[in-house]
Amino acid sequence: MADATLQHSAAALHGPAGEFEAPLFGAYSKKVGMWLFLASDSLTFGALLFAFSYNRIYTAWPTPFGKDSIINATVMTACLLSSSLTMVLGVFAAQRGDRAWTRNWLLATMAFGTAFIVLHGMEWTKLIHEGLSLPGFPKPAGQEAGEFARISTGVPQFAATFFGLTAMHMLHVTIGVIYLGVVALRKWFLPILGVIWLAAFFLIPSDNVFHYGVHALLIGLIVSSVILFLKPKDYDAHDVEVSGLYWHFVDLVWMFIFPLVYLMSTKI
C-alpha cells in the first residue's frame, strides 16, 4: 500500500508517464552550463578586442610584423582550424561508442593545440629578443634595441594589447589541451603533464618569460588531480561533446585575434 502511494506521488510529480519534465533548452544541463560559460567568456575577450580596436584606430599604430611572423601566425591558424575538425571527428566517434577512435581524435586535437602553443611561444620569444617587452618581463641576454624596442617605449599600448590578448588566448588553449587530456586519458594524463611541466621548467632558460609561465601547467596538474581523485568517472559522449564546445570556442576567438593583431599590423 505504501509503495503504491509512493509510486502514485512520483507519477504526479514527473507526469503520467513517470518521466522527468523535458529540459527547457532541449539539451542536457552540462551542455547548457558550458554554453553559458562560453557566453560570459566571450565578453572577456570582447572587452579586450574592443580595447585593442580603439587603440588601433586612435593611436599612431606601428606595423612591425614581417613575413616570418605572418607565416608563423597563418600556420598557427591552420593548426587551430584542423584541431577543430579532429575534435568534431572525436565527438562523432564518442557518439557511436568507439572508445579507441575517440581517444585517438582527442590526442590529435591535443597535438594540434600543443603545436599552436609551441609556435606561439617561439614567436613571443623572438619578439621579446627583438625588443618588444613589458615592464615585468625578464630581460633576455643579447636583447636587441631595434624597431620593437622603440615601439615598446614609444607606443606602450602595442606591447600591452599584443601580450594581453595573446597571453589570455594562449592560457585558454593550454587549459583546453589539459581538459582534453583529462577526458581522453583520465589519470594516465597526470604523470604525462607532470613530466612536461618539469621538462619545460628545466629546459627553458631562466631569462625566458616561459620559464615562469610554464607553472600554469603545475596549476593545471593540481586542479586535474583534485578533479580526477575526488570525482573519478569514465567520461562519456556528453563529456566529449562539452569539452569540444570549449575547444571550438578557443578556435573561434583566434579567428578575431589573428586578423586584428597580426594582419592589421603587417609590415609592407
Partner: protein
C-alpha cells in the same frame, strides 16, 4: 536526460566547412599583404570575414545549428546584444576622452 545532439551526421559537410575556413583565412592574409583599404576600411573588411568564420564555427563545429530554436536564439541574441551595449559604451566614451584631450 536529453540524448547527445542528433542531426544530419554526414561528415563531409565538416570537411567543407574546414576547407572554407582555410580559404577565408587565405583571403584575410592576402588582404593584409595587399593593403588595398585604408586602416579603418581594412578593420571592417577583416571583421566581416571574422564574423563569417565564427558563424561557421558556431553553427557547424559547435553544433548550434542543430540545437533547439529557443537555445539558438537565446544565446545569439543575448551575446550579440551585450556586444552592442559594450560598443555603445566603449567607443563614444573613448572618443569623448580624446576630444577633451585627457591623456
Amino acid at each position: 536526460m536529453h540524448d547527445v545532439a542528433k542531426h544530419d551526421d554526414s561528415k563531409g559537410q565538416y570537411f567543407w566547412v574546414w576547407g572554407a575556413l582555410l580559404v577565408l583565412t587565405g583571403v584575410e592574409v592576402w588582404l593584409g599583404y595587399r593593403q588595398i583599404f585604408e586602416p579603418v576600411r581594412m578593420l571592417e573588411a577583416l571583421l566581416v570575414l571574422s564574423v563569417i568564420k565564427s558563424a561557421l564555427i558556431i553553427a557547424y563545429f559547435m553544433h548550434l545549428k542543430f540545437e533547439t530554436a529557443l537555445m539558438r536564439w537565446m544565446l545569439v541574441i543575448s551575446v550579440a546584444g551585450l556586444f552592442v551595449i559594450m560598443y555603445f559604451f566603449f567607443f563614444p566614451d573613448a572618443g569623448r576622452i580624446l576630444r577633451l584631450g585627457v591623456h
